[in-house]
Symmetry: C3
Subunit: 306 residues, 3 copies
């Protein structure tokens, strides 16, 4: 099983920018395609006052900073050139305490932006799904409700397109109060129950628990997701959470363990966060080029790459 999807992250709060222009992105899409990536998921269209595309809604309601170029347009162009499916990541207001929005305001802003986006980009042939950008790791009623309403709104506009989420594991590598597997299952059974009909694909992140605990989480997640009538993918993170700074590319052996564990759990598809910083030969982290080479060696040995 190979990694056939990746997030696109050019707007984030914790990953340094590659500072790529159009030519660099075009080259990276070409390389993604060459190793079998058919799906690209833009992690978010905006966060706080930063956005990746011009938007009247975000200008008026979120007072965004000037947009240098329309990355959605660029990503759609490149996805079409490379025959990939593009998932559009929604907006996260990431409200600061002094400017908080209520749940209703957050949802309303989200919906208005989704309407604008759908009108502007919905006709593009690569526009194949929505990515609901709010992440959560355990029951948080407000976030779940937000996801449910935004997912339902997307469904209303584009009933034929899948909605995707990528939750994290509330695990030892992320938090000081890691969740037990039992509690995780209880929470996610309830969450996915609420989200049924609003979410089609669930791709749990896989980097927050120890490697020996991961198989149990993967299996439990796959079962819960299937039970609720959704598709289970795995987000095989390609950055390393085990070293003193956040984040370098992952050690190849860890990627290999996690891919095996995901395959054994029975998920339908492997995606990664994310190719361009952590697995690309063009990444600004030189170790990413080597991770790419190790990954390609592995595919070749398995006869999955020429």
């Amino acid at each position: 099983m190979r990694i056939s999807g990746t997030f696109l992250d050019e707007i984030t709060h914790d990953i340094p920018s590659n500072n790529w222009g159009r030519a660099e992105w075009a080259e990276d899409f070409r390389i993604m395609k060459s190793i079998g990536i058919d799906t690209v998921i833009m992690i978010r269209a905006g966060v706080g006052r930063t956005a990746v595309c011009p938007s009247q809604v975000l200008s008026e309601q979120a007072d965004i900073f000037p947009v240098y170029e329309d990355l959605v347009e660029l990503f759609l162009d490149l996805a079409e050139e490379n025959e990939m499916a593009f998932f559009f990541g929604t907006y996260d207001s990431a409200t600061r305490p002094s400017r908080e929005r209520t749940l209703d305001q957050e949802v309303q802003l989200g919906k208005d932006f989704i309407d604008e986006v759908w009108q502007k980009y919905g006709h593009r042939s690569a526009f194949k799904g929505w990515y609901l950008t709010f992440e959560l790791g355990k029951m948080e009623k407000h976030r779940v409700e937000c996801l449910r309403q935004l997912g339902a709104h997307c469904k209303g506009l584009s009933p034929h397109l899948p909605n995707m989420i990528s939750p994290y594991l509330h695990g030892r590598k992320l938090v000081d109060d890691p969740i037990s597997l039992d509690q995780h299952c209880e929470d996610w059974n309830e969450i996915l129950g609420v989200l049924a009909g609003a979410v089609d694909i669930v791709a749990f992140q896989d980097g927050q628990v120890d490697y020996d605990d991961l198989p149990d989480f993967l299996r439990a997640n796959r079962e819960l997701i299937t039970k609720h009538g959704m598709q289970a993918w795995s987000n095989v993170e390609s950055f390393d959470r085990d070293v003193p700074f956040d984040f370098p590319p992952l050690d190849w052996r860890k990627l290999w363990w996690k891919m095996q564990a995901a395959e054994q759990s029975g998920v339908e598809k492997l995606i990664t966060f994310e190719f361009s910083h952590f697995m690309s030969p063009n990444s600004c982290w030189p170790a990413a080029k080597n991770l790419f080479n190790r990954y390609c060696d592995h595919l070749r040995k398995a006869g999955e790459l020429d």
Copy 2:
């Protein structure tokens, strides 16, 4: 408006070394020149027991470690070859608690070193100013007095040369008790009043406050600096303070916002901390090469670069 000055930082406590030799520095000056940099500011000649040039004063009074090569000589050579102005950054004893100097001792050491430096390098045609290396963000009477005395001493030696400082903003991204804009203005009105006659150029750092708060700080600073008869420059930082480790090259879009804000505030010149680590195609941070390319794209679009 383009960035026409940069700090040179090969002696610091928080930026990893590029480990460049003469050839690498020569190439970097050539590139700086090609994009319009006409001013280089050596951030400090020494800190604690480390110095960038041999010095009898620092050997005797600060017990400095052996100096591998005379970087001042190198930087002056390269500044002259490339017709740039060189600002000499003074010495910071950065006294450890166990070996503290009094204010008088710090100032006396600073003056002795400035005398030695002026005798040794003052005749060089690229020696065009002094950079007073002590940074501060709000009223600290000792530091201000130190700056005033060192600045006055430089004026005594070289009345025709400008003295420069580059204070920081005591802002949210740096400290837990950020200063209000009003308090900032009150403090800096008093500080610049004390420094009148001892300082000619003030280039505030721009990275410690949120992007949406920056325009107000820039405007207030420009007005205060003008009021006190000094020149206002802006130190458009090219490293990123928004990510989990200190520090990668800045996202191009953030540099672009800050350059626009600086231009609108009416400053006379843009400089950066600093080109060689964070904007150079030769930097050890590969993203710096891409930031350089994005910056050049931008200059070309504006017709400011061939």
Copy 3:
């Protein structure tokens, strides 16, 4: 005096992986050889559930994850091709609180693994010593006893091969309660007394104290080690402990200071932790390439490199 040995670190908890394959390792050994490295020390064969070679003992007793390739085999091949001595680093169970081993269990597991390793790789001509992987900085009776027993066990199997340790300095850059030089000497006099007969080479790490305190520690260490009939080497660390993230390549000037200090202390050999990440032209840290160039410049000036 030049650096003639290096650790090999492809299994660790705090250094991001270079993600090298066989070709990259082969090239790096060739470069090590070209600058006079004749000794390579694998820092550990395994830690926790990760191992660098297949092992029945570790599979049964430590439940290790799948091993992607046998790096011991690879390192021995390359050491033989390049006529280097290879030191085998033992296993560290790094027990998590929930799965602790007693001292006896840790030692028994270590011995069983050493037996297996000796049978499997002991005949290789490059197998020239053991590296006892447990590090300590001051008296810790359990760790010392563990080192003593493992060292004695290796001596039993291979009386002709040296055993090496590389302790750290319990210094200001590592801990909040730095040890005094006097206490350091008292502790290490006792520790080395216990280890006499079980350890042949002691290569203290040199990065945890200030550069001005280092010469005293180096001299004291050399004297203590000689007194106890062992060989004194110095582990001249090539990564930087003075910057905000852990760890970039060292500033060349700091390496130069530390090499001089080590030479003056009278140690017999300089090694480094470690070449491939921090001094190699192939490292994923571009500054390492420049550190390599500065180091080679220095050797050439001294007539020690063509």
